[in-house]
């Protein structure tokens, strides 16, 4: 196994250190056989962990595969991703989650941790075999019908209760479906002008408010996916102040872009939940700094060209995110590396129960880490993406910071900014 010595890297704490990567862990001792990487001016972060990734396999391998998505993740500085369940077939059985898990291991570029569906076929009618998925080789801990809301309050209550047996968590896609029928973009002035059916903020906030009360009532863990509105932030703030066991994520695109982007009618900006207003963006940034929102999660959602090069109303919602998330976090939070490590590695690893990830870079810890050049600037070119899809909303934008190298259990997955395979 190749050993690496990362010389003069800056740690999230601000200290500088030589980091010896040996036998899968951060080691001490002789570095005489190590390949030396000049890390002067680079920042070493614990490998990033994404709670919300769509890898599309099985079913839509034309849009993404476990392997191509894993490569995009490694290039983005990730060492673990949680693969959402809305594949075809849906990941609602032990068989499918084990398949995804195995594909992840075979690709070997990041740890692919499958998310299990809450309900059979994501239909929102009856519970999937959550226990079977939890005890499978994939050891599923996060369950989500993402793409669909678990709208039935009784079913949501049961799901929250049931997963307590194996310390699971329900990750809710908060969207009251009756309030978003036909919805195309954020309900507001821009939607009115563009004649696109509105997705009102209250459709998200009403479900989060209900779910924090349910989680409180049954004493369970709740995770809220892709929080997008200022009102949701207030609901979460109050719930956390009361001690409800709720965590929440925000996507890079909701931290950066607004509904004005829809003015082009280019569906690359169509996403669910939709891009909101500048006031929402400000509230989300503040909540992320304060910890009311715990995590940045990408909601990386690759789509084939024909699903985006069409009329807005007919396009599928979703955006790429894995290769740009860290840059956007730096853009939004500034070079506060400890905060970035907290929001993009330590906390998501803890929520997902990924014991091998999210550790501070110190002797004996698993060597899951990424080296970042904070001074680099890059122009986003969709054709550069390692994803099989091209639907990045950041095309042509100049973003700060660049991933130079990523290590998964001591093996380089990215070197010199390029995937090793």
């Amino acid at each position: 196994m190749t050993q690496y010595l990362l010389k003069g890297a800056q740690l999230p704490s601000g200290e500088r250190a030589d980091i010896l990567v040996k036998d899968g862990v951060i080691a001490e001792g002789s570095a005489k056989d190590a390949q030396i990487i000049d890390a002067d001016g680079l920042v070493a972060l614990p490998g990033l962990v994404d709670l919300h990734t769509h890898l599309r396999e099985p079913g839509r391998e034309d849009a993404e595969t476990v392997e191509t998505g894993s490569r995009a993740a490694a290039l983005g500085g990730y060492t673990a991703v949680c693969a959402m369940a809305n594949t075809s077939p849906v990941a609602d059985t032990a068989g499918v989650v084990e398949q995804v898990y195995r594909l992840g291991r075979e690709a070997g570029l990041v740890d692919v941790q499958p998310v299990g569906a809450v309900t059979v076929g994501l239909a929102g009618e009856r519970l999937a075999e959550l226990g079977a998925m939890a005890t499978s080789a994939a050891q599923v801990r996060i369950f989500s019908d993402d793409g669909h809301c678990v709208a039935d309050p009784r079913l949501m209550r049961r799901a929250l209760e049931y997963v307590k047996a194996f310390d699971g968590v329900i990750a809710q896609h908060a969207e009251e479906p009756r309030l978003t029928e036909g919805a195309q973009m954020h309900e507001g002035e821009v939607a009115t002008r563009l004649g696109l059916t509105g997705w009102p903020a209250v459709a998200e906030e009403a479900i989060i408010a209900r779910d924090v009360l349910l989680a409180e009532h049954v004493g369970s863990r709740l995770h809220v996916c892709h929080v997008s509105t200022a009102g949701s932030v207030e609901v979460l703030r109050q719930a956390k102040a009361r001690g409800v066991r709720v965590t929440a994520e925000v996507t890079p695109h909701h931290l950066l872009l607004t509904d004005e982007r829809a003015t082009s009618y280019d569906p690359v900006f169509k996403v669910n939940p939709p891009l909101r207003t500048q006031a929402d963006v400000e509230a989300l940034r503040q909540a992320l700094r304060e910890g009311v929102i715990d995590v940045v999660a990408t909601d990386h959602a690759p789509h084939a060209v024909e699903d985006k090069e069409c009329e807005w109303a007919y396009a599928r919602p979703g955006m790429l995110g894995l290769e740009t998330a860290l840059s956007i976090a730096v853009d939004v939070l500034g070079p506060d590396w400890d905060l970035i490590a907290e929001r993009m590695s330590r906390t998501p690893a803890r929520i997902a129960g990924l014991d091998g990830h999210g550790h501070d870079i110190k002797t004996g810890a698993p060597a899951n880490l990424t080296l970042v050049d904070p001074a680099a600037r890059r122009v986003v070119d969709p054709s550069d993406s390692a994803s099989r899809s091209r639907n990045t909303p950041y095309a042509g934008m100049t973003l700060p910071a660049r991933v130079v190298a990523t290590f998964l259990r001591g093996e380089a997955t990215v070197l010199d900014g390029k995937a090793v395979r």
């Binding site: 195309q184 009115t192 004649g195 696109l196 059916t197 009618y265 807005w312």
Partner: protein
């Protein structure tokens, strides 16, 4: 002006130029030979993804009176029903040398998308619940010819504004041309953020209105609880004879068609001397001639 996608593409001077040009085109209607050679050798494609006999025929007549070659491409019985994408259709039309594409489409923004894929001009003939700019132009033309001016007019637009592309285009164009617009209807059907006056009380608005524009209300909106029943809608927001008599003497009543007689408008009103409904149809041809002329022939 390359395309006409939205009424917001028109500033006051351009909009006025369209209306003045339309007035010249209208003089043709009285002649024995109703045809100009202006667009000879140019190809105009009518690309209709929604049934709309009225608008399609209006555009077809306008293009033919300017001597353009007209190709009608309807989504039914074409490659579209075999699943061809809008982009592939656009590239096909492009290869055939379309100088202008007039598009009617159920999805808002489809004309914008089309305009990024073809070299010719794109005219929005109604897209989803977004806009219908030539309807707003013909409405403005009709108001100006009946009332002599647009600046300072009080225009009440009544009905399902939320789902109306006609209302959106009229709000923008009338604001550009200096008229004062009041949107009237049940709160469920009036979006709060169109930056214009709003009233939920039709009777209060009528005595000061120079123009009342009644919008078509689709009965299926009842199923989505926008209002309880056709009867209640007609009672609160329908324009009947007694309500019409609250209008000032000079005021006109407009409707973009097709009408639901007895729902938003009573037959007595639709057939009255105040009604401009048939004129609107005739003016539509002149206005669309003006638009095609200015897009395709005006500068060459």
């Amino acid at each position: 002006m390359k395309h006409l996608l939205s009424a917001t593409d028109l500033d006051a001077s351009t909009a006025t130029l369209v209306l003045d040009t339309a007035a010249e085109m209208a003089t043709l209607a009285g002649r024995e030979v109703k045809k100009l050679p202006t667009l000879r050798g140019r190809t105009v494609v009518n690309l209709f993804y929604e049934d709309s006999t009225r608008t399609r025929i209006s555009f077809e007549a306008a293009a033919k009176r300017l001597s353009a070659d007209v190709i009608n491409f309807s989504a039914k019985g074409s490659s579209v029903s075999k699943g061809e994408s809008l982009k592939d259709t656009a590239l096909t039309l492009q290869a055939m040398g379309a100088d202008a594409v007039v598009i009617r489409h159920p999805a808002s923004g489809a004309p914008h998308r089309l305009s990024t894929w073809v070299a010719g001009s794109v005219v929005n003939a109604g897209d989803g619940t977004h806009e219908h700019p030539t309807q707003a132009l013909l409405d403005a033309y009709t108001m100006r010819s009946r009332l002599g001016r647009l600046a300072g007019l009080s225009v009440a637009i009544v009905g399902d504004v939320l789902h109306s592309r006609v209302a959106r285009s009229n709000v923008h164009l009338l604001a550009t041309l200096g008229a004062k617009v009041t949107l009237v209807g049940p709160p469920t059907l009036i979006p709060p953020d169109l930056r214009t006056e709003v009233s939920y009380d039709l009777d209060a608005v009528l005595p000061d209105a120079d123009v009342v524009m009644m919008l078509r209300v689709q009965r299926e909106r009842m199923a989505a609880s926008y209002f309880p029943s056709a009867r209640e809608y007609a009672r609160r927001y329908g324009l009947d004879g007694p309500r019409m008599r609250r209008l000032p003497d000079h005021a006109i009543v407009m409707h973009p068609g097709p009408m639901n007689r007895g729902m938003e408008i009573a037959p007595e009103v639709a057939d009255s001397a105040r009604s401009t409904i048939v004129e609107q149809v005739a003016n539509g041809v002149s206005v669309r001639m003006a638009v095609l002329y200015l897009l395709l022939g005006g500068k060459s």
